[in-house]
């Protein structure tokens, strides 16, 4: 779908966004399908009592009261949080709670039904196509499984954004591409086609491609899916190294707690379309909130059931 389609079917003008602190009472406009997921006699948002803690820096990306539904299925229901600059943030939560949808809102691949998404203070849903393309140059995105173009080899895949968006000569491009591929450890696979690579290699190639334009914000959509624990640990290390080298705001979506312990500077826990709690990682790991404690320790008993 092109941006016009998305804008046409979503909404005309974003409503005036209002800030709401997390400690307010939960709203009563609870969508019906949320009730299906709750056990008898419980209020669906009773565990969402956590606090949006301060992270001590400006917000690169902000979500203000974002709501999004697909048909009868409400995925985001009043999402409020901010991604801090210069840190590695992680959005974690149970499977199917809208984490990928969250990422797509940040780059304007989806628009909220209500609420607003701000990138460096500018509202994404109200951008024109040109503004949107410019804004996307600030981002690098690593999709699940890499999303490499099947018809080009690794070198051409990584060089693609440079060739399309810059006037750089082939020599300069070669230098940049080689450096990035070296950073991710794929110097030996330059001529391979995507279907000749393993899952881990595809993700690393996708990572290199995401970095080529020196983006300010890098998004990772479940980079550890399908990887064994050792490869996951290596990928986490890679993310940290590259971040230390290049800076910027990194946002990682995952439900792997080990990675969260290793890598995250800032954590946001997402459940049923809202943030349960967010803040610096060290504080969240000591949180009194029952849901957060259950999820971060991987316990079977607690507010989260099999639903």
């Amino acid at each position: 779908m092109t941006d016009d389609d998305r804008r046409d079917d979503q909404f005309e003008q974003p409503p005036e966004p209002t800030r709401r602190a997390m400690t307010d009472e939960p709203h009563e406009d609870i969508p019906s399908n949320i009730h299906d997921q709750t056990r008898e006699g419980q209020h669906p948002y009773q565990w969402h009592e956590g606090v949006n803690r301060e992270h001590g820096s400006t917000d690169a990306v902000e979500f203000i009261d974002v709501k999004k539904s697909f048909g009868r299925n409400t995925v985001l229901n009043g999402l409020n949080f901010g991604i801090p600059e210069g840190q590695i943030s992680m959005i974690i939560g149970p499977s199917g709670t809208g984490k990928s949808v969250c990422i797509k809102h940040m780059v304007g691949l989806l628009y909220p039904d209500e609420g607003d998404v701000l990138v460096h203070g500018e509202s994404v849903p109200s951008m024109t196509d040109d503004q949107l393309f410019d804004m996307r140059k600030k981002f690098g995105v690593l999709f699940q499984d890499g999303a490499l173009f099947g018809s080009m080899n690794v070198y051409d895949n990584t060089a693609f954004p440079l060739r399309q968006h810059t006037d750089k000569g082939e020599d300069e491009i070669e230098e940049i591409v080689s450096r990035r591929l070296r950073e991710v450890g794929l110097s030996g696979a330059i001529d391979k086609m995507p279907n000749e690579l393993s899952g881990g290699m595809r993700k690393r190639a996708g990572f290199a491609r995401a970095l080529v334009l020196d983006p300010h914000i890098v998004l990772f959509d479940e980079p550890d899916s399908g990887l064994d624990p050792v490869r996951t640990a290596l990928l986490c290390e890679l993310i940290q190294e590259v971040h230390a080298e290049n800076g910027g705001a990194y946002v990682v979506i995952t439900h792997d707690i080990m990675s969260a312990r290793r890598v995250a500077d800032y954590l946001a826990v997402l459940w049923k379309g809202r943030i349960v709690e967010s803040g610096p990682a060290s504080e969240l790991f000591n949180s009194p909130n029952q849901f957060v404690r259950q999820f971060l320790s991987g316990e079977a008993r607690g507010p989260l059931g099999m639903e």
Binding site: T2, D134, R136, K137, F143, D145, S151, Q164, H165
Partner: protein
């Protein structure tokens, strides 16, 4: 009644989609990605030419023998050339071209673009600031328009050659000179043009329908497979309708024959 209802609801979407792609070709957007257009043209030639010419050849053979037997039956075996001239060029070749285009190119497009859609490649393009519609669909339509007229005319040639083989060599009732005399007498230049227009109209429809179903695929590999099947249904019917319209418009009730005043 699921299938027709499906078509009607998609018709509006397909029309809108096609309008946008065609507009982009005329606006020259595909020239941004001329390298990609050339690559697609190359793929069309390498991948589809042989199968299309192969089918054209087989159909030409069939047209040839039916014509030969028919003409023998009406007592005018020498006129077998007419059957080939008309049947081949005006009807059989466009249909053969249409059939094989929809089978090879049409379903191929859905499979390829649909796979890109579900593995997030299209989203990756958008996020990198490339208009995925232009990069994927407009380039393919332009490539088709560049390459297919020549492929079509070559297919017609293959069909004619096959009819010749069937009538002259296989059945052997007409000498080759006799065949060609009648054959050329009943040809006229507008016929080739009209036939090519028919073929190109079919090809355009097929490419647009294929791109649409691929671009809007969802639901994993299974969804891509279903979209491929659905596109084939629509393409097959449209090929027949375009063929009928073409015949009506170009030949209607004016045979343009060199006899009878």
């Amino acid at each position: 009644m699921d299938v027709p209802r499906d078509w009607l609801s998609s018709m509006g979407d397909i029309a809108k989609f096609s309008g946008r792609v065609i507009a982009e070709v005329f606006e020259g957007r595909a020239f941004h990605f001329f390298g990609e257009t050339l690559r697609q043209a190359g793929i069309l030639i390498l991948g589809s030419a042989i199968v299309i010419w192969g089918l054209a050849f087989i159909v030409g053979l069939t047209c040839g023998i039916e014509g030969a037997y028919f003409n023998r039956a009406v007592g005018a075996p020498a006129y077998a050339g007419v059957f080939s001239a008309w049947c081949d060029l005006r009807e059989a070749m466009p249909y053969a071209f249409g059939y094989m285009m929809s089978a090879k190119v049409g379903t191929g497009l859905v499979a390829e673009i649909g796979a890109m859609r579900i593995s997030d490649e299209i989203d990756a393009l958008e996020v990198m600031g490339i208009s995925s519609l232009t990069f994927l669909c407009t380039t393919r339509l332009l490539a088709a328009w560049m390459v297919l007229p020549f492929m079509y005319i070559a297919a017609v040639g293959a069909g004619f050659f096959a009819s010749y083989l069937a009538v002259v060599q296989q059945i052997g009732e007409v000498s080759s000179g006799g065949f060609f005399l009648i054959f050329w007498m009943f040809q006229n230049p507008p016929d080739l043009l009209y036939s090519t227009i028919k073929g190109m109209a079919m090809a355009t429809v097929i490419v647009l329908v294929g791109c649409y179903y691929g671009y809007t695929a969802s639901g994993g590999p299974v969804g891509v497979g279903t979209a491929t099947a659905k596109s084939m249904v629509l393409n097959t019917v449209l090929v027949h309708l375009v063929g009928m319209l073409g015949t009506q418009i170009f030949w209607g009730t004016n045979p343009r024959a060199p006899i009878g005043g």
